[in-house]
């Protein structure tokens, strides 16, 4: 299903003309309305009139998360506060939160892209959409809510927490679509099991999961446990919120709504574009955004992109593979380590649940990686030999993927802290020492 065929299946040349026009408009708004950008343009010797199209994006200044912090809270807004009708913020793990300001038109755009996302996932007005993303400053809850309302679905604004009650509501109201973080989806499945409830008693058929990185293996597990098709949605507060990109039913990558968010994949060091299919950092220019239009915002997400037309008929570029967030990247003994790599290893070995925690420490100037893995019932053996065999196998597989050795600690089920929102996968004790 396609919500806006005109925008989503536009001929790429036509799309390029639209993007060029929108970029020119954005650059001039930034130059005249945002001192931060005017200064950057002036330093780079760029006049707004010099910019004719997106092929010049590579010459324009980028925006980093630190720039948002430096201009906290409203310094990067391009309209007077009187035009802002909504504020959102993402809780930064360190320092100040990242703020997003939206005008009335921004909220319309946002609902539009979420409507497109839901349609892409096969969700329509006949669905009952259970939104378990947190409502509040976090963009997840209200973001999905507005889009689901736009397509005419029945929305249950469940928000996060109170899991048992949520399951009850899902059961009694007949929710057909679940929108939440993938880790919360697993938590829901676990809780259902604890309550003695069979997921097939529910009517769930689609999951709209995002707001944290997850793997193919995790998708399979969620689908098996909750009896639904799990769809990946992408977004970030700085650019808009959920709905920047979304998977279609063919699940061949996430379609970027490029008429609003112009993507680039760049080399994280040189900031120059890399060819299609190559890994680089994802950068967005929110060309139609009025409240806080960020130019070349560096997402820190490492990914690849293709512009091949999808089987679904959409001509929009697709993000094909997420290889972790460079924020999550740990450098252990000089090796780049993404938690997602470890997750993949654990999930390939069907014996273990995807509940793990990485503990990095520095002892005698040497980085030590310990991986705590919860042992599930299916694997647990009454024989020490087999349990030690499991630990050895995990260790060997991790070593072959990461190229560094790790200590494996098998722990009891449910001992690794489950957060109802995002999962805490990494404890880096080295930072406390430094």
């Amino acid at each position: 299903m396609i919500w806006n065929e005109h925008a989503e299946c536009m001929d790429r040349e036509q799309l390029l003309r639209l993007q060029n026009e929108r970029l020119r408009n954005m650059v001039s708004r930034l130059y005249y309305n945002v001192p931060f950008y005017r200064k950057k343009f002036q330093e780079a010797g760029i006049n707004p009139g010099d910019i004719t199209g997106i092929d010049q994006l590579k010459d324009l200044p980028t925006t980093k998360k630190q720039d948002l912090r430096d201009n906290y809270p409203f310094g990067l807004f391009a309209v007077p506060q009187s035009e802002i009708v909504r504020l959102h913020a993402s809780s930064g793990t360190t320092g100040k939160p990242t703020v997003g300001g939206y005008t009335r038109a921004d909220l319309r755009t946002w609902s539009e892209v979420v409507a497109r996302s839901l349609y892409a996932a096969g969700v329509d007005k006949n669905d009952i959409v259970h939104v378990s993303y947190g409502y509040g400053l976090f963009t997840g809850g209200l973001g999905i809510h507005q889009g689901a309302q736009k397509i005419g679905a029945t929305v249950i604004p469940a928000s996060g927490g109170n899991t048992k009650k949520q399951i009850q509501i899902m059961h009694d109201f007949g929710s057909t679509v679940l929108a939440c973080t993938p880790s919360y989806a697993l938590y829901l499945a676990d809780t259902m099991k604890e309550m003695g409830m069979d997921p097939s008693e529910l009517k769930l058929r689609r999951g709209i999961f995002g707001a944290e990185p997850w793997t193919e293996e995790m998708r399979k597990e969620i689908e098996a446990k909750l009896h639904l098709k799990a769809m990946d949605i992408y977004g970030l507060t700085e650019v808009m919120g959920p709905g920047v990109a979304m998977e279609c039913e063919h699940q061949q990558g996430l379609h970027i709504f490029e008429d609003h968010f112009i993507p680039e994949i760049v080399d994280p060091v040189t900031l120059q574009p890399v060819p299609y299919g190559q890994v680089g950092e994802l950068v967005f220019s929110a060309v139609t955004k009025e409240g806080m239009p960020l130019l070349r915002y560096r997402t820190r997400d490492l990914t690849t992109m293709t512009i091949e037309k999808c089987t679904c008929g959409r001509t929009l570029a697709r993000l094909t593979k997420f290889l972790g967030r460079s924020d999550d990247m740990l450098i252990i003994r000089g090796v780049n380590v993404f938690p997602s790599q470890i997750e993949s290893v654990l999930l390939e070995m069907s014996e273990t649940e995807p509940h793990y925690q990485l503990i990095v420490d520095r002892i005698n100037n040497l980085d030590i990686l310990e991986i705590c893995v919860e042992v599930n019932e299916a694997f647990f053996s009454d024989e020490i030999r087999q349990m030690e065999g499991l630990a050895k196998k995990i260790k060997a597989n991790i070593e072959s993927v990461l190229g560094i050795s790790a200590k494996i600690k098998l722990v009891e089920p449910k001992t690794i802290e489950r957060s109802e929102g995002k999962a805490k996968r990494v404890i880096d004790r080295r930072k406390l020492i430094d």
Binding site: E194, V375, N376, E377, F380, S381, D382, E383, I384, R385, M387, E388, K409, L410, V411, E412, P413, K414, T415
Partner: protein, 141 residues
């Protein structure tokens, strides 16, 4: 002729065993035999209890990783070398013992044995005239 053993995965943390015994005590389950096998990081608590289904359910509800295994309960003849002779039969039959642990049964000594081929173990022992404990025998002593 086989006994059902309950095994619990435990991390090496203080008070974990007490947690298990507390759960069993609360539901009135008695432990007839138990042993702990441990490594530096984790341990496996193995038990023979009088109501295994109730114990299994209660421990699972408390979040423990639990499983049941079929084992053999052998009453050791009360004579010098009794244990040795019994094990000789086992060796001769080519059965490999994974682990074993002793416990008191009606003021006699008994051992729980887990072998690679538990059924064969029962047959060998019974054919050689040994007293192999049956399920329920421990409860109605």
């Amino acid at each position: 002729m086989l006994l059902k053993q309950l095994s619990v995965f435990l991390e090496n943390r203080p008070g974990r065993i007490t947690q298990v015994t507390k759960v069993l005590d609360e539901i009135g389950v008695n432990i007839s035999a138990f042993s702990i096998a441990d490594t530096s990081d984790f341990g496996i608590l193995r038990m023979i209890v009088d109501n295994i289904d109730a114990a299994l359910q209660a421990l699972k509800a408390q979040g423990f990783s639990v499983r049941t295994t079929q084992v053999v309960g052998l009453v050791v003849p009360h004579q010098p070398g009794g244990m040795h002779q019994a094990l000789e039969h086992v060796d001769k039959a080519g059965i490999e013992i994974e682990y074993m642990y002793a416990f008191a049964y009606n003021s006699k000594a008994a051992v729980i044995i887990k072998a690679d081929d538990t059924l064969k173990l029962v047959n060998v022992l019974t054919e050689s005239g040994y007293h192999v404990l049956q399920e329920g025998e421990l409860m109605h002593e």
